[in-house]
């Protein structure tokens, strides 16, 4: 094989546009009906592009592998700004277990519309066979679906999130021991687990987010560091960061609070109010984080980002907070992401020094109220759309009288206040309910009427106990 022949730039651009149009049409179909003007225009544009291509070149296969998209076997080169669209497209196909779709010449506009809505509107219970049946029922004959090609992961995907989360706890424990014993940190091992967090997040962001609802105050640093890493990567992914950037973000977020190890435990866990000296000790922990990582040597780019993130994570968007700054004028994107994730997790975690902590719902309210002062407002908007107004772990009272725990936000931006919940008290314990679903009249049969605060009893894992069977 000689080196690949340089491809025509126009062809590249066309394929890239085609993937964008397909992704855009699928996303639009999630929120808008078929007769909506935006939806119509989206499908029209895609239809013209597909017709043009299939009439010229014949059947067109669009496939995914390792989070890359291929058109007729050629990788579509995407830039950083394409990443969000690309991720959304890949996830939509993944949800159905689709590895490739082939559009045949002669596809009609009606077929394309039926295909788009068949794929976009399927909820979390789908698989490839279900989708194929649905498309046959809807007379979609000109799109053939294929299963994914073999992946390199042999592990049970259901056990991976828990294993990944558990690995983070273990490695943080090892880090803690190394730092206290003044030994070298094995950054390589930290990288391995943080990379696995990113991998997991790219496969299924809610599986790990659900685990962040386990907040233990006896191992607070371990679970908090892990939670901040997970929340930061989830937000970074929504912002369109690329995989390698997510890897650096995850590492930085995971190690952001290492400085707490240098603060006396008596102060960290002191019940009640801190005096000035104790407050000052606490406020030094971002500087301690810098010191700890500096002493490790091996200052690679990702370690530098970790040091910066650790230093910045208590500095607010308006540059208030601590440590007090002498000249620094702005915060890095990673710093702003970690600050938001850190604060959200911290205030919604039970601690010995307060009788009750915020519920996840109150915590998200706090985040919204402080957008523009403590937090970057742009990030707040994305963060809330990601975890919803009733973030996973929120215990809610339903209009039916049941009590449920929020598992993940409702699908689509307009459903951030209507999560998917699992009933934990009342009738149908263990059953999941999608509060964004409407009845035939277009009304919501089930709504949230109240929020419970289990306080220091701890929060509820936002997951089905069945999913823990391999753990």
């Amino acid at each position: 094989m000689s080196r690949p022949i340089a491809r025509d730039t126009a062809t590249d651009a066309f394929e890239r546009r085609l993937v964008h149009m397909l992704s855009g049409a699928l996303r639009t179909a999630e929120f808008h009906e078929r007769d909506n003007q935006v939806a119509v225009e989206g499908v029209d544009g895609l239809y013209r592009a597909l017709r043009e291509r299939t009439e010229t070149l014949g059947a067109t296969a669009i496939s995914t592998r390792n989070r890359h998209v291929f058109v007729d076997g050629e990788r579509v080169r995407m830039g950083a700004s394409d990443y969000l669209n690309l991720t959304s497209f890949i996830k939509t196909l993944d949800r159905w277990g689709v590895g490739s779709l082939t559009v045949l010449p002669g596809i009609t506009r009606d077929e394309l519309t039926a295909f788009i809505y068949g794929v976009a509107r399927g909820r979390r219970d789908g698989d490839l066979a279900t989708l194929q049946k649905r498309l046959i029922r809807d007379n979609v004959r000109s799109v053939e679906l294929g299963a994914p090609t073999e992946e390199g992961f042999a592990e049970d995907p259901e056990s991976l999130p828990v294993r990944t989360y558990g690995s983070c706890l273990e490695v943080m424990g090892e880090l803690h021991t190394a730092i206290v014993g003044n030994r070298q940190i094995r950054t390589r091992r930290v990288r391995r687990v943080t990379q696995s967090v990113v991998d997991q997040m790219m496969r299924d962001e809610y599986a790990l987010l659900a685990l962040t609802t386990i907040k233990r105050f006896d191992d607070h640093l371990f679970s908090h560091s892990t939670n901040v890493a997970v929340l930061s990567v989830a937000l970074g992914q929504r912002l369109g960061l690329q995989k390698s950037q997510l890897g650096e973000l995850c590492l930085a977020a995971f190690m952001h609070d290492l400085g707490k190890i240098a603060v006396p435990k008596g102060i960290l866990d002191k019940p009640g109010t801190l005096d000035d000296h104790e407050r000052e000790e606490i406020n030094q922990h971002p500087i301690h984080s810098v010191h700890i990582l500096l002493n490790q040597g091996n200052l690679s780019q990702s370690t530098l980002r970790a040091i910066i993130g650790g230093f910045e994570h208590h500095i607010n968007f308006d540059m208030s907070g601590y440590p007090l700054l002498s000249h620094k004028k702005g915060l890095t994107l990673f710093g702003r992401i970690i600050t938001l994730a850190d604060r959200f997790d911290a205030i919604s975690t039970p601690r010995v020094y307060r009788e009750t902590s915020f519920t996840p719902h109150q915590a998200i309210r706090h985040v919204i109220e402080h957008a523009g002062t403590q937090f970057d407002p742009e990030l707040v908007g994305v963060f809330v759309r990601m975890i919803g107004l009733y973030p996973p772990g929120t215990v809610v009272g339903l209009s039916s009288g049941d009590v449920a725990v929020s598992i993940q936000p409702g699908q689509g931006d307009r459903s951030v206040d209507r999560p998917l919940v699992r009933i934990i008290k009342g009738n149908d314990i263990g059953v999941s309910r999608d509060l964004s679903e409407t009845d035939d009249a277009g009304d919501y049969p089930l709504s949230i009427v109240g929020v419970y605060n289990p306080g220091n009893e701890g929060l509820f894992p936002a997951m089905d106990p069945e999913s823990l069977r391999h753990f």
Binding site: Q245, F311, L333, L389, I448, V451
Partner: protein, 589 residues
Amino acid sequence: MSGQEEPPSARAMAQPGDESPAQMGVRSGPLGRPDSDERASHDLATEACAALYRAYRAARFYPANHPVAVESLDALSQTFARTLDEIGSLKLTVMPEAFLFGDQAVFGGDGIRDNIAELMFRDGIRSLTFHRGIEHEEVSEFVWTLVRAQEIGREEQDLATILWDCDFAHLDYSVTDPLLEGDDWEGKGQVLERFRADLLDKAAHPEHIDLGTPTATGPGEAGSLDDPANSIIMQEFSSEAISGQLENEPDVLFEFLEVLTEVLVTGSTDEEVGSASKAISDVLSSYLDWGEFGSLTLAVRRLQSISETTPARSTEITGILDGLASPDALRKSIFELDGKLAERRPQLEELLYLLRHAAYPSLVELLAEAGGKTSRKCILNVCTMGEGVPLPLVTAKMNDPRWYVVRNMVFMLGALGDPEAGSHLEGALDHPDERVRREAVRSLSGLGGPRANYLITSSLTDPAPSVRILAARALARLGQPDAAAAILTQITSKDFPGRDDTEVEVFFEALGEVADDRALPFLQDLWGGKTFLRSKPMAIRLGALKAMGRMATPEAMDILARASRAGDEELRRQARRSLLEAERRAANR
């Protein structure tokens, strides 16, 4: 497959570390000889592994653009393409010293140098799968990643973490569980166990938890999108803008430096301040090493500003800047100016001027070593800007045993323009090396003044013709009438006619520039040419005419007018030229 014919690809190229699959110890697997299809696939896999190994070895020993490295990567791409076209995917199981394809060994064995299977196994890679469609770019990156994995500090990264960053589209790999290795530590396993227990308990038995009373919520309230306070949620954001933010952020090293300077100011312990200082020094050194003078200048300005506003940190900052300004730190940056990086001189000069108080000793030291014009110019510019380098730093080097060091110091003294430098230059006129004495004459001519003129005049008697010539030229340029007698003394000395023509010419030109009519009798005698014993050499006679042309006095012109009627053609022509020169000069007075 010991004893089988060597695959063609293994014979194709002879490169460092070449071993055929047979030589690499490839042997049949536990199941014995495979059938013909399997055997064909096995052979292809063996060939692909051999090509991979060759490309890896070439990449290790040659630069990326070396023909051997390039050709072996091309060959690897071709082999992969051929193999994957045939068998779809090439899945290799990584063993401690071998690759298996199915259950057959296709690479490896004892005694292979740079065994890539060993490298992968060591770093936890347990399988590799190459997929059809793999691109040359991916193949190349994979090979270079293997090379990098040999060179990195393993505490920080390993092959698995680097491969992850590469995000290959057509290459899958599996890695061991990160928790299978690592140190034993107190509490290992307990954290996970507590987490497990908590998780299972809460997930399975939520009904045990006392939930208290719910807070009401509903449409239009805080929990609803209808609440105006929640309008922020629906605001659009641009992923392009976010990507742009990341790309437009100052480089991570500069952000890091900002953090370090903050820690330097606010650190509460000596250790924190010390580690921040050291890290700042490291960052600044890196900037210097990379030629990032713009960022470095910004950082130095900031540190100097902190030093002024936070006196408690001035000792640390002085230490940092002293380290940055050491000869060892500056040498590379300054001397690189003599190569391809000459265009960086203005930025480096700006930086060095900012650092000048710490850098002067180093600059003086480096000037001693400076061989190229641009580096010397850079140092001299910095040392002579503003108040200039303190004289004692320069004069302390005047007794250096290396002639070129003294020469450069002499050069600096001249460039400084400090009248006090004259007395130090005086000693240089006695230096045994004429190159130093020449530089001293140049520097003295730059300084000017009666003492400098006197010293230059004294150099007219220097044993080296080159020094005498320079001195004469300097006096001519300076137009020193006091020097006329000394020049004339030389011209009329017995040995003068035997000197080199150039020196003779320069001395007469100098005399013409500085002498008045009192010199004319001597010049008339000289051009006339007759002495008691023999004729003056022609060079002397012509020189005298030239000198009078430069004097351009009426008397000189009269003599030249007469000389233009001389019997000798050459003298006549020179006299006419000198007369024209005299008339031109007279007209311009």
